[in-house]
Symmetry: C2
Subunit: 184 residues, 2 copies
DNA sequence: CAAGAGAAAGACAGGTCATTCCATTTGGGG
DNA sequence: CCCCAAATGGAATGACCTGTCTTTCTCTTG
């Protein structure tokens, strides 16, 4: 079970895309990094746009999986919420953190159907996760979950520009407050 | 009192940058749109990076001025807060709205000192505005104002990807809730 | 009128971009 | 061992990028 070439390309290209931006990273740069021939790359991904979409899809799966693992660590919804922001804070407290990969991708390729579709699907999945969390806490209305999503997005966007992970802790505080207030 | 050439260039370039993205708009495109010679553009802005920074600075002044006008429309802090999100909702409810210009710019040019500096200054100014609003409401602690900033950022980021202005109304609801809860 | 400044138009340099194609080598399954 | 598909290195494509520079033209001001 060795890593396929696709996975290898995706790993390298993904890291470059996130770190330096999608438009800033050319195909030449990717084939240099992966030590893969150009024709090979184009055999696996028919265009750069496809590669970008695959990168986002990969990222989507990782983030969702990571969130699910967090949910499995503690049973109580409130602790889960707390831990979600805690983990985000850890990630944000790193110089290579640049914010939400999907927001960055849409900023660069907001006219690419492929890119926007994956990005929206990811945001919807995260929203559903917050919705399910609130349901488990016995909250029926959808609004509190939407507030949590907004705070999560706000934390990501704020850190992306300001680079101060403190914003995530502030968001956590507000999220817990919203959670407690929505509790039946 | 005719508009200076700098202003003319800034207006056209700014519209293009926001609509299509900074990297997607080349110098040739700008001089074609403005009907200005390339040398003229470079006389007024020594590099594209300078032009981008000027675009953001211009945008910064407009947004802050627009916010101040909103604050002057109604006297009560709570109504001001409500109106801020109301106006954002109006803007978001338009096909050409692409989210926060500063977040978009940092996504594309996060390595440009000039760009990041202007973007951070803008975010700081908005934060101060929320801080002053809460102070006028008699709230001394800084946290509630930070929560409002996060919700504002979250609304912008969410609309940027999802394109659903409803998110702004949801953010307003949460913001008013936070405001009322922080009230002495 | 003269002179000089600024602007227009566009050629040019030196890269980089994504993408295609080709000739050659490699590696694994029958 | 042989064959074929896949991978390789690299050249070629045509478009676009920022930034410089030259030449011509049109003002304004003395």
């Amino acid at each position: 079970m060795k890593a396929s070439i696709s996975d290898h390309i995706l790993a390298s290209a993904g890291a470059l895309f996130y770190r330096e931006g999608i438009r800033a990273v050319g195909i030449d740069r990717i084939i240099e990094e992966t030590k893969v021939a150009k024709a090979t790359l184009y055999r696996h991904f028919p265009s750069k746009d496809h590669l970008v979409a695959a990168y986002l899809h990969d990222r989507h799966e990782r983030v969702i999986r990571s969130l699910e693992e967090v949910l499995n660590e503690v049973p109580r919804p409130r602790d889960q919420l707390n831990l979600i922001f805690e983990r985000l804070h850890e990630k944000a407290d790193s110089p290579e953190f640049r914010g939400c990969a999907f927001a960055l991708a849409v900023a660069e390729h907001g006219d690419s159907e492929r890119v926007v579709t994956v990005a929206r699907a990811h945001k919807a999945a995260v929203s559903r996760m917050f919705g399910a969390l609130m349901e488990r806490a016995g909250v029926e209305t959808a609004q509190p979950a939407a507030h949590l999503s907004l705070l999560y997005e706000g934390a990501l966007a704020t850190v992306a520009v300001g680079r101060d992970p403190q914003a995530v802790l502030t968001a956590r505080e507000c999220a817990l407050f919203v959670f407690d207030a929505a509790r039946p």
